[in-house]
């Protein structure tokens, strides 16, 4: 299991660098064809890819930081940087989508005067294809590593693919003489992007605020209650410290137990949880005497 994780980690970094290359290429590619084909929509879409370049850079920096182990300065490790990266990435996406919405609404009102050349359709198709590659390639390490930063990044590519699809529809519709369908589709897509990005942002912010992991807490309560010597599990608190969870648990022992015996029980608790659950970073166990009421 250790070997797979190590491979996954270096894969995650490699994939993110690859996605950065794709995004940089997309900015230049879309901008060039937008100018050549006189397509406003494609030009606006190039800005979305520029936004994704920034997001990927933020993600890469966070991946580099997250690996550092805990130390005196950061006693709980550096893992939470990924939630910060994910919050900011999604925030930038919200702003980008609002910008895209603004441009779409403006174009709906002002109306298009120049019909973009069909070459824009080819460019949009290629861009769509590349974004899909980026999205699918990033999905695996994101999910395997449970990395919020990589997942935020792949979301950005997925949404870029959708907006490029709209641009393609827009150019086709324009060339066929149907003026409004593309603008309405653009507004709809803009709203969907804004909603999804906002949702992603709120999720990451909640992690930073320390929402509990209730499923894990239930499992832990059950497992620990079964351990010899544990009279009662008084309380469990859980929070994310990045990709894994930190557990603060308070257990009650018989009054007459010694600390030496208590330490053995703590060891048993930790071993049991390490064996049965694989997403725990650390379990910090407090001991109190069982209270009789």
């Amino acid at each position: 299991m250790e070997a797979i994780t190590k491979n996954c980690i270096s894969c995650g970094k490699r994939v993110s660098v690859f996605i950065l290359m794709i995004n940089i290429f997309l900015v230049l590619f879309k901008a060039y064809f937008a100018i050549v084909s006189y397509s406003d929509a494609l030009f606006a879409d190039a800005f979305e890819s520029l936004n994704n370049v920034i997001i990927t850079i933020i993600v890469l920096i966070s991946l580099w930081i997250t690996e550092k182990g805990e130390n005196e300065k950061f006693p709980y490790g550096y893992g939470r940087v990924e939630f910060i990266a994910s919050s900011l990435a999604n925030f930038l996406l919200v702003i980008a989508s609002l910008g895209f919405l603004y441009v779409s609404v403006q174009m709906t009102i002002v109306g298009r005067e120049i019909v973009p050349k069909p070459i824009a359709i080819f460019a949009a198709a290629v861009a769509f294809f590349l974004n899909q590659i980026a999205f699918h390639y990033g999905k695996c390490p994101g999910e395997k590593l449970k990395s919020p930063a990589i997942l935020a990044n792949t979301r950005a590519n997925k949404l870029d693919a959708y907006t490029t699809l709209v641009v393609m529809i827009a150019v086709i519709a324009s060339n066929l003489g149907i003026p409004r369908v593309d603008h309405l589709a653009a507004i709809l897509i803009g709203l969907i992007i804004a909603y999804e990005a906002l949702e992603g942002m709120i999720l990451s912010v909640r992690e930073l605020m320390g929402i509990p992991y209730r499923d894990e807490e239930q499992k832990i309560k059950y497992l620990v209650s079964e351990i010899k010597g544990v009279r009662c599990v008084n309380s469990i608190k859980s929070r994310s410290v990045g990709r894994k969870i930190w557990i603060d648990i308070e257990i009650a022992l018989e009054r007459e137990r010694t600390i030496k015996e208590g330490l053995i029980i703590i060891r048993n608790v930790k071993d049991c949880l390490a064996e049965k659950l694989n997403n725990i970073n650390e379990v910090s166990v407090q001991l109190v005497s069982e209270r009789t009421f």
Binding site: F91, G210, I211
Partner: protein
């Protein structure tokens, strides 16, 4: 004794909140005023100056939220409390400041190199004077409040107003020299303002991120906690301390060793003792986890 402390704390919170509301509304009016006059007169320096007022608004909101939520105790939804919200607001404020500074920087550079000089209407100078006047009043008001309730949040708000005053003074002088034919000085002032705003943004991002990543409190405080706890008779050794700041409160994970033969109900007393000693010497103490190792 406990009641007196709570009443005083309550008064502090109410006073701090009132001050922040006054700050927020005044800064909002000032921001829109500067923006409007800036756009109408074409003074980029004035537009950049409105971002300082935006910073004032966002930091007032952070204070209001922080004060409101710091009253909320830990609950089931957020077992580690709500203190981190002020850092979350801080990082988003930092990003917003960065975005505005980049946009205005780009605009101003454009004006310097490609723009045609148009004399800026005297209304801009008046707006700058109004900004100096209002910010000075708010600065003095905040300082007075700080003297009475000693809130670091209000103190930093006072500093923001001072920064706004200074920037408005520079804008004013830039506008006067503009009349005497020093073309593009207004845009140059705007460039310097945006650089400073970008610096403020990065600073907020940095400090907010450090806290959200559960950065350790400063070494001196950690050492004084270690000394205090080591002095307690039954504590053999303080093996490790992890201490972080959540909002205003300091949360501590104490790893201590005691004599192996001690019974659990004896160690209960030791824990109570430790908590009492720490809460006597640390003004804003969150939870203390005592972990025997």
């Amino acid at each position: 004794m406990l009641n007196k402390k709570t009443n005083h704390q309550k008064k502090c919170v109410l006073c701090g909140r009132k001050t922040s509301w006054v700050d927020m509304w005044s800064s909002s009016v000032l921001m829109f005023f500067k923006l409007a006059v800036g756009f109408l007169t074409g003074s980029r320096a004035l537009i950049a100056s409105s971002v300082y007022s935006l910073n004032d608004i966002l930091s007032s909101i952070a204070v209001i939220l922080g004060l409101k939520l710091s009253e909320k105790p830990v609950d089931e939804e957020y077992p580690y409390g709500y203190g981190n919200i002020e850092y979350v607001v801080s990082i988003f404020t930092g990003v917003v400041l960065l975005i505005f500074s980049i946009v205005i920087f780009y605009e101003s550079i454009n004006v310097i190199f490609h723009g045609e000089h148009a004399r800026i209407h005297w209304a801009a100078s008046v707006a700058a004077l109004v900004s100096i006047f209002i910010n000075e009043i708010l600065y003095k008001y905040d300082l007075c409040v700080v003297k009475h309730i000693n809130s670091p949040a209000i103190s930093s708000q006072a500093q923001h107003h001072q920064a706004d005053t200074i920037s408005s003074v520079v804008v004013f002088f830039g506008l006067q020299l503009d009349r005497f034919g020093y073309y593009h000085l207004d845009a140059l002032v705007a460039v310097f303002e945006t650089l400073h705003i970008a610096y403020l943004g990065v600073e907020m991002l940095y400090h907010g991120s450090m806290s959200l990543m559960e950065h350790s409190i400063n070494k001196h405080k950690v050492n004084s906690i270690k000394t205090l706890v080591s002095r307690i008779p039954d504590v053999q050794e303080v093996k490790n301390i992890k201490a972080r700041q959540i909002g205003r409160d300091i949360w501590v994970d104490l790893y201590i060793s005691v004599a192996g033969g001690k019974k659990i109900d004896e160690t209960d007393e030791i824990s109570v003792n430790i908590r009492n000693i720490l809460s006597d010497s640390i003004k804003y103490l969150g939870n203390v986890h005592i972990i025997f190792v």
